[in-house]
């Protein structure tokens, strides 16, 4: 019997990578891409492959490393989230011109919603900007197959290729049938050719011309790629309405039309949005009076359809310009178009009555919070206690949730806690104002893009407190190791990098390491740091708040459990709930005071230090 397994979409992509003989896979974790590399590791172990894998320190680093492997003739891939491709954009734009020798696949995972990202940006536009082909899968199985297609196209045309699975592909689960995995023994053989690999602007012009020719050829290929680009038009027939869809919205649209048995609406699926399969699109445009475009998250296909007068979509106001195209949204927008065109509407209703009912129930919004026992919580608590009037610049990771404790004022992009802190400093210093500033950044984010901003801040004389929230792991994205841990992507030992030494190397003279579980000591050190910052020789004061993530290693994080209870001294002042914001602390209606939810309490005992009335005590014995 054929071997089947349920794969996460990211696992299916990993399977596609090993099936296609990828020899090098690099990545920086970021939702929704984070599981691809760990799945590759799982497969190379189970299949006995020698694929080189690495967690790179950031996405640009990941792409450069994969690029070098690819131009030495190997098959390489790098994986990241869509905003990670912004970080790697410098590399991508240039790599498109230089081209590759071995296959180079860049997997950039989009996040319509957004569920876990700063933007809803559409990677297809990034591909168009860089002038590289992009493939847009509708489900895990198709993503797996497109990995092979992408590497083949890349190798054949000597061009990097982007695969852009959206979150509903990455985090979908589907049963996948195994195929035999062949080992790829291609050896590294970089052929020197400085006119190309180190091309100066004069040669870049020539390379640009070559790139344009490649795209033209690939465009023709895509027109005939009926496995991924296809329509169900009947020859000679005309239709009042046709639909063009790609990626996840194609799958959603297909299911809705199948359920409703609507064979009267032809659908063109675009699996390769760039270079655009022009000929195929023209066939649909000619056969239909109106064409509705359903795509995520921007207007990529919509811009490329030539006869705008026929096109309905975001630009005509029929499709929302932001947010995810979930089935009920697609259902409603198709129905709206059908009604406007006097065509038979869909039968199923969108359950509007239930949505109205739920709205009226006024359910509490369940905002994400730092976990019970999280070391970031006491770090934030201490920062606020020591520097209540500061501007709090922060960054991207679990600790963005410091928002809930009132200790995160800004979150721009990776590394911006530091760069914005120096920016704020100079903006205020120019007016002669000594504005306290505390920047918080996680360890992994610091490794990703903290150093350039830090040495800039030190060099240019900025003064602020930098707290590196070092939980010794990349927590938010699923517990990937950081360079400080000395464990590599495949579990092997690497050289551990010291945060303290990097910070010192950036020119910081005040460096303290503290365990944030000790609130008094942490608060004291922040006050000491504030004195240094304001002092005559002040500058950036760095505090490394080091304590293991409670999810990554509960035993390590809480070696000694402290069971706590709340006594009748509690005056129901809510200080702990507002300022400490532990989900295990709640207002008990019956008792008329704060209580502890034993189901989720981690027994970290940190809250023993916070109650102004001393009403949180340790249970004896």
């Amino acid at each position: 019997m054929e071997r089947q397994e349920i794969f996460l979409g990211n696992g299916a992509i990993a399977l596609g990578l090993v099936e296609a003989g990828s020899q090098v896979v690099t990545s920086y974790p970021g939702t929704p891409s984070s599981e691809i590399l760990p799945e590759v590791v799982r497969l190379i172990k189970s299949e006995g492959l020698n694929t080189y894998v690495e967690w790179s320190t950031n996405e640009k680093v990941a792409l450069d490393n994969a690029f070098a492997a690819a131009i030495s003739g190997k098959r390489a891939a790098c994986c990241m989230k869509q905003v990670g491709l912004n970080v790697a954009a410098d590399s991508l734009m240039s790599a498109a011109y230089l081209g590759t020798r071995g296959g180079l696949l860049i997997i950039s995972c989009d996040d319509p919603g957004p569920h876990s990202s700063q933007t809803e940006q559409d990677t297809r536009f990034m591909a168009r900007l860089a002038k590289v082909p992009v493939l847009d899968p509708s489900n895990p199985e198709e993503a797996r197959q497109m990995v092979g297609l992408g590497l083949d196209i890349s190798e054949e045309f000597a061009i990097p290729v982007i695969l852009r699975p959206a979150i509903r592909v990455c985090h979908a689960r589907q049963n996948i049938t195994f195929k035999t995995i062949k080992k790829n023994d291609q050896k590294a053989s970089f052929e020197k050719d400085p006119m190309r690999w180190a091309a100066t602007p004069r040669f870049r012009f020539i390379l640009h011309g070559e790139l344009n020719k490649k795209l033209e050829e690939i465009g023709k290929r895509f027109d005939g790629l009926s496995q991924y680009n296809f329509h169900d038009l009947e020859p000679g027939k005309t239709y009042p309405l046709g639909i063009v869809a790609g990626g996840v919205p194609y799958a959603v649209t297909r299911d809705i039309l199948s359920e409703e048995r609507r064979t009267d609406i032809p659908v063109l699926k675009i699996g390769t949005p760039f270079p655009f399969p022009e000929a195929l699109a023209s066939e649909l445009m000619s056969a239909c009076e109106q064409v509705l475009v359903i795509e995520e998250t921007d207007t990529f296909i919509e811009y490329l359809l030539r006869d705008r007068n026929k096109v309905l979509g975001r630009l005509s106001g029929h499709v929302a310009r932001e947010g995810e195209l979930v089935p009920e949204v697609v259902h409603a927008l198709i129905n709206r178009v059908l009604k406007e065109l006097d065509l038979a509407p869909l039968e199923a209703d969108g359950n509007g009555e239930a949505m109205e009912l739920v709205k009226n129930l006024q359910l509490p919004v369940r905002r994400p919070t730092l976990c019970p026992g999280c070391p970031h919580r006491p770090a934030f608590f201490s920062i606020r206690k020591a520097r209540p009037k500061a501007i709090f610049t922060s960054d991207i990771g679990c600790y963005t949730l410091g928002l809930n404790l009132g200790v995160v004022d800004t979150c721009l992009d990776m590394g911006a806690a530091i760069t914005m802190a120096s920016g704020f400093y100079h903006a205020y210093a120019q007016d002669g104002v000594e504005q306290p500033i505390v920047a918080t950044i996680g360890d992994s984010t610091f490794f990703h893009s903290g150093t350039a901003g830090l040495l800039n801040a030190v060099y240019n004389g900025a003064r602020f407190i930098l707290v590196i929230l070092d939980n010794m792991i990349t927590a938010m994205t699923g517990m990937q190791p950081t360079p400080a841990l000395g464990i590599r992507a495949d579990g092997s030992e690497g050289k551990a990098i010291s945060l303290e030494r990097i910070v010192a190397g950036c020119g910081v003279d005040f460096i303290e390491v503290v365990d944030p579980y000790d609130i008094e000591k942490t608060t004291d050190i922040i006050k000491k740091a504030a004195d240094y910052v304001a002092g005559p020789d002040g500058g950036v004061a760095a505090i490394i708040a080091r304590h293991p993530c409670v999810i990554a290693d509960r035993q390590e994080a809480i070696p000694q459990k402290k069971v706590v209870m709340i006594t009748d001294d509690c005056t129901d002042c809510n200080f702990c709930i507002d300022r400490f914001e532990c989900p295990a602390l709640y207002h008990d209606e019956e008792l008329g005071r704060t209580n502890i939810n034993r189901e989720i309490c981690s027994d970290c005992g940190v809250c023993l230090q916070i109650c102004p009335k001393g009403a949180i005590v340790e249970v004896e014995g």
């Binding site: 089947q4 599981e35 985090h171 996840v248 799958a251 299911d255 089935p327 129930l361 919070t369 963005t400």
Partner: protein, 189 residues
């Protein structure tokens, strides 16, 4: 075969993904096609978490509102939040301690749409058995008593036995069985 649409919901950290995995594994064992959608990332830090699972020949992983055949909720509030997914005649299985479940305001809607509500204090059961992190399995056991969907209680139980780590197997099954017993009692079996 007709498609079966399942929605599972609760809060981050309650074990929604594990519950989804059990359903998916049972379906796979029966040679059925599955397609599911999960929540990862920031929402896992205690926020609302929803998992969709579709069994049958489908293209997309998301269940449309009004199309779920049953809903399993590890949190009462999340159960209400996900009401729009339920189809007419659907079943709803909720972990709650509230004596007044379901809320008065929802009864008219539920009756009109013939949605059957089942409630169990799954968290208390799991806590009493010394396995507070297995609330999900108490609910799953309870659900399995009612014979909904293309999977039997024996298949669900067998899959839990198969995929549980050795040190948790016995405890997981005990919690599942306790939930199952509650369900069977409620059915009068």
């Amino acid at each position: 075969m007709e498609t079966t649409n399942i929605v599972l919901c609760g809060l981050g950290g309650q074990g929604i993904l594990f519950m989804t995995k059990i359903f998916a594994q049972v379906a796979l064992g029966k040679g059925l096609n599955i397609m599911g959608a999960e929540t990862h990332g920031m929402a896992q830090r205690g926020g609302s978490v929803v998992s969709h699972l579709r069994i049958g020949q489908v293209e997309s992983s998301l269940v449309r509102t009004g199309a779920a055949h049953f809903l399993l909720a590890l949190d009462e509030t999340e159960a209400y939040r996900n009401l729009p997914f339920l189809s007419k005649g659907a079943g709803m299985y909720v972990s709650t301690h509230a004596g007044d479940f379901p809320r008065q305001e929802t009864i008219g809607f539920l009756e009109k749409n013939k949605i059957v509500c089942h409630a169990i204090p799954a968290a208390t059961i799991a806590m009493e058995l010394g396995a507070p992190l297995s609330t999900n399995l108490a609910l799953l056991g309870y659900f399995s008593a009612f014979g909904e969907g293309p999977m039997s209680k024996e298949e669900l139980r067998g899959t839990i036995a198969n995929i549980s780590p050795d040190q948790l197997r016995e405890s997981n099954l005990k919690v599942f069985d306790t939930g199952l017993k509650r369900g069977l009692e409620e059915k009068g079996e």
